[in-house]
């Protein structure tokens, strides 16, 4: 369906310097494929999508869409875009139109569709993304997740053959990521061809038929989710998919802002889809800091989450300490053991660390 070869993109900065974002991208996309594009920030994932539908025309290489070279001079780009939909990070809904008008605007203006017929189809699409109830509401009255679902419906209204998703959940409040992802999941089930730039590793693993790992302006590794997430061939891919998310708190004295720490732990859990472990993490923190280790301030607290294995740990580190601060006879220890399946006491190069497995 889409054949990309030797694609490159150079951005010319106003100060005269050049940045080569895409170096040599080659890939072949077949109908029905759901491809997630993952990789570190600034490696050209979004640029690749925007180069495919020529919003950022590539500097070199070629793109064949259904056998036609879309980089040819005088190629009707707008016709191609009607078949290659795009969903943006910032939704880009038309603020002056209602939800339903947003959906049927392009079919009515471009395909000159009958308004009544377009309305019916538009409502059906809105029903599909769960937004039919808000058909006559203006986008400014919607939440981020709702906006993105409308944007997906708007894209579907043009009956595209392939949809490009440019970080569809990155601008969303973590609580709203789920609703958007489930709409995309549904589209995948229906066999829609999709390219999705995302940071949601679990989602990418579940929904995709193929993963592109991008780094240094090329598709660094290309394979099935099993290959990329469980047996990556290249070390950089491995390091990326196995990387650990963490948040660190330095508690210097008794005036530390515990409430802020609490809300940051909560945000962390929501962000990485481990909200079910949030209460445990907070209880553990409370027990450790207010009771078991209350005498050991200053203390460094760290919460970690491995996107690949799904393991969550909380570390409590005290510098200069040589033996474990835990006392078996402290009654709070029993409470802690009740929800921490594993408590590791280990000396480090600079002090002593207690590691709790959460969930």
């Amino acid at each position: 369906m889409i054949t990309v070869s030797h694609l490159s993109k150079i951005f010319h900065n106003p100060d005269g310097s050049n940045v080569q974002v895409l170096k040599d991208v080659n890939c072949e996309i077949s109908p029905g494929e759901v491809i997630s594009i993952i990789g570190p920030s600034g490696t050209g994932k979004s640029t690749l999508l925007r180069a495919l539908n020529l919003l950022d025309p590539p500097t070199g290489g070629s793109i064949l869409f259904n056998g036609e070279n879309i980089l040819e001079k005088n190629y009707p780009v707008h016709k191609m875009r009607q078949k290659m939909g795009m969903v943006f990070q910032n939704f880009n809904l038309f603020d002056h139109l209602t939800v339903l008008e947003n959906v049927i605007f392009a079919p009515c203006k471009i395909h000159k569709e009958n308004i009544e017929k377009a309305r019916e189809e538009g409502l059906a699409l809105l029903r599909k993304v769960g937004m039919a109830e808000k058909a006559d509401v203006y986008p400014s009255n919607l939440s981020g997740g709702q906006k993105q679902r409308v944007a997906i419906a708007r894209c579907l209204a043009m009956k595209p053959e392939v949809i490009l998703f440019d970080e569809p959940t990155s601008a969303l409040d973590p609580t709203m990521v789920g609703e958007v992802l489930s709409v995309i999941r549904q589209l995948a089930k229906e066999g829609m061809t999709m390219l999705i730039v995302t940071h949601e590793m679990k989602f990418a693993r579940d929904v995709s038929t193929r993963i592109f790992y991008m780094q240094d302006g090329i598709i660094y590794e290309d394979g099935t989710p099993q290959q990329i997430f469980e047996a990556p061939v290249r070390s950089a891919t491995k390091a990326f998919v196995q990387r650990i998310r963490k948040e660190v708190f330095q508690i210097e004295g008794k005036d530390f802002d515990y409430l802020d720490m609490e809300s940051r732990i909560r945000q962390f859990c929501i962000k990485y889809n481990i909200a079910d472990r949030c209460d445990m993490a907070l209880q553990a923190t409370n027990l450790m800091l207010k009771d078991i280790m209350a005498a050991y301030i200053p203390i460094t607290v760290r919460i970690t989450f491995s996107e690949l294995s799904g393991e969550t740990f909380m570390d409590f580190m005290v510098e200069g300490l040589e033996t474990s601060p835990l006392q078996a006879n402290n009654p709070s220890m029993d409470k802690l053991r009740a929800f921490c399946s594993e408590i590791i006491e280990e000396p480090t190069s600079r002090g002593f660390r207690i590691k709790l497995r959460i969930g």
């Binding site: 707008h78 795009m86 049927i104």
Partner: protein, 488 residues
């Protein structure tokens, strides 16, 4: 409607304040000390007043403004031509001559320096009139007690085709030069009509204020200046004069508080004022013409300015640096110059001797101002639309121009429209200065009526209400022209 009522009430309150004092006695010029004395800016005896440090000297633009200032107590004493105010005193305004001036001034018609041919013809006509006694008849009719109101005025029918003789008058007051029912009358007008008859040319008479009348002749916008123009050595350096036809005295006028009051009460006064302002001598026609003139200048200037604004906007946002610089220079020039100054420069300098009509000059001037403001509005409202909107349109399959016209522009319109409306309204109100280049818009129509009725309240009230309605009308027109809600 409610707003209109509040507006009228507040205006009435504003104009209905007054006060009463003692009648001032004057015996010699020394008695002027300590009083406020007003006269006309740019007149021959202005210097005598403004050089005195012991009086508070005020200068007004027209004889009717001067009279109003005296009647409303803005000034205690008005100094002006005896004959003109004599005509007014006949109308019983409660004014009297406190003292005659110590000078009399020979009065003549003023011509451009290089127009000696016309002066010779005029002098010949005038000499013939003196010889055959017509001159004496004119003086008897206009400058003595025989002078009466309206119906008896007659004049020689003028030619209708050919190069018009352009006359600038700086006076709109009986018995010198004044307008009744859309026609000009008066002793000086009659003299000029004799000249036009001799030359077989039609007349085109326009009212200027005192200072700009001289500029009009100098820059070739007018051929003859009249309206009691005193012959002074200073003026003779720059202009040619015909032979003086009469000498006028100056006089000092004061309010006569001892005279029987003409006050019929506020409401009756207003009623009488409305009658005088609108119906006597068909003055409503002046107002209607002025209204159309103001509307014409505003609307054409807005349309032209909006187009120029598009050009200016593209220049200011061009990739070429020199175009951007041009736009920048233009904008800073426009924002640094008052509208009236630019209007005068355009009329008396740029378009001097070109024969371009004052209406066009006014339209161009206001369009130049409007373009600058409009280009800023375009930029502000287009910049307010995020580029994501264009991208979303492109990604859906719209072409570049479709994305702009169907998606970006309708949204920008909503943001820019209130600003644009404000700009249009300020232009409309700004056009009230076009009287300076002798265009009879509403403001100038009000001035002319005031100079006939010597009543400030009603004409000014009418003019304010008409501007209020025009503003409303412009708003309605813009609303009509703006895109409809239904976009599909």
């Amino acid at each position: 409607m409610k707003r209109l009522v509040y507006f009228i009430v507040s205006t009435l309150l504003l104009v209905s304040c007054g006060k009463k004092t003692q009648t001032i006695e004057l015996n010699s010029p020394d008695d002027l000390a300590g009083h406020s004395v007003a006269t006309i800016a740019g007149c021959a005896y202005e210097k005598d007043l403004s050089s005195r440090t012991d009086i508070n000297c005020q200068l007004y633009n027209s004889s009717s403004d001067l009279l109003q200032a005296l009647l409303s107590g803005q000034t205690e004493i008005a100094m002006y031509d005896e004959v003109v105010y004599n005509a007014i005193i006949r109308k019983e305004y409660g004014i009297k001559i406190a003292m005659l001036g110590d000078q009399s001034f020979p009065t003549a018609f003023l011509f451009r320096k290089d127009d000696s041919e016309l002066v010779r013809t005029f002098n010949a006509v005038q000499r013939r009139m003196i010889e055959d006694g017509t001159m004496q008849k004119l003086i008897d009719f206009w400058l003595t007690d025989k002078f009466a109101e309206a119906e008896s005025y007659t004049h020689i029918p003028a030619e209708t085709s050919g190069e018009p003789l352009r006359v600038a008058t700086v006076l709109s007051t009986a018995p010198i030069s004044f307008m009744v029912d859309g026609e000009w009358y008066g002793i000086e007008i009659d003299l000029i009509r004799e000249l036009a008859k001799e030359l077989h040319r039609p007349l085109e008479i326009k009212l200027y204020d005192n200072a700009s009348g001289f500029m009009a002749v100098q820059s070739g916008q007018a051929d003859i200046l009249c309206g009691i123009v005193f012959v002074t050595p200073e003026r003779q350096e720059k202009f040619l004069f015909s032979e003086p036809y009469h000498s006028y005295h100056t006089a000092y006028f004061v309010l006569d508080h001892d005279a029987e009051s003409q006050d019929h009460g506020f409401i009756a006064g207003i009623k009488k004022g409305i009658n005088k302002t609108l119906f006597v001598e068909n003055r409503w026609r002046l107002i209607v013409d002025g209204l159309l003139k103001t509307l014409k200048i505003s609307i054409v200037a807005i349309l032209l300015g909006s187009l120029l604004g598009v050009g200016l906007y593209s220049m200011a946002n061009s990739r070429r640096k020199w175009l951007r610089s041009c736009a920048k220079v233009y904008r800073s020039f426009i924002s640094g110059i008052p509208e009236l100054v630019l209007l005068l420069v355009m009329f008396y300098v740029v378009f001097a001797n070109t024969g371009v009509s004052p209406d066009i000059v006014a339209i161009i001037t206001f369009a130049l101002f409007f373009a600058s403001g409009a280009s800023h509005i375009y930029k502000a409202s287009l910049d307010a639309i995020p580029c994501g909107q264009t991208e979303a349109g492109l990604a859906l399959g719209f072409t570049k121009s479709q994305s702009f016209f169907k998606i970006v522009l309708p949204q920008a319109f909503r943001i820019g429209l209130p600003l644009y409306k404000g700009q249009c309204i300020s232009l409309l109100k700004g056009t009230s200065i076009v009287g300076y280049i002798a265009i009879q818009d509403i403001t100038r129509a009000g001035d002319i009526i005031r100079s006939r009725t010597f009543d400030a309240i009603v004409p000014l009230l009418f003019v304010t209400i008409l501007y209020f309605l025009l503003v409303w009308l412009i708003g309605a027109l813009i609303k009509l022209a703006s895109p409809k809600k239904n976009v599909l």
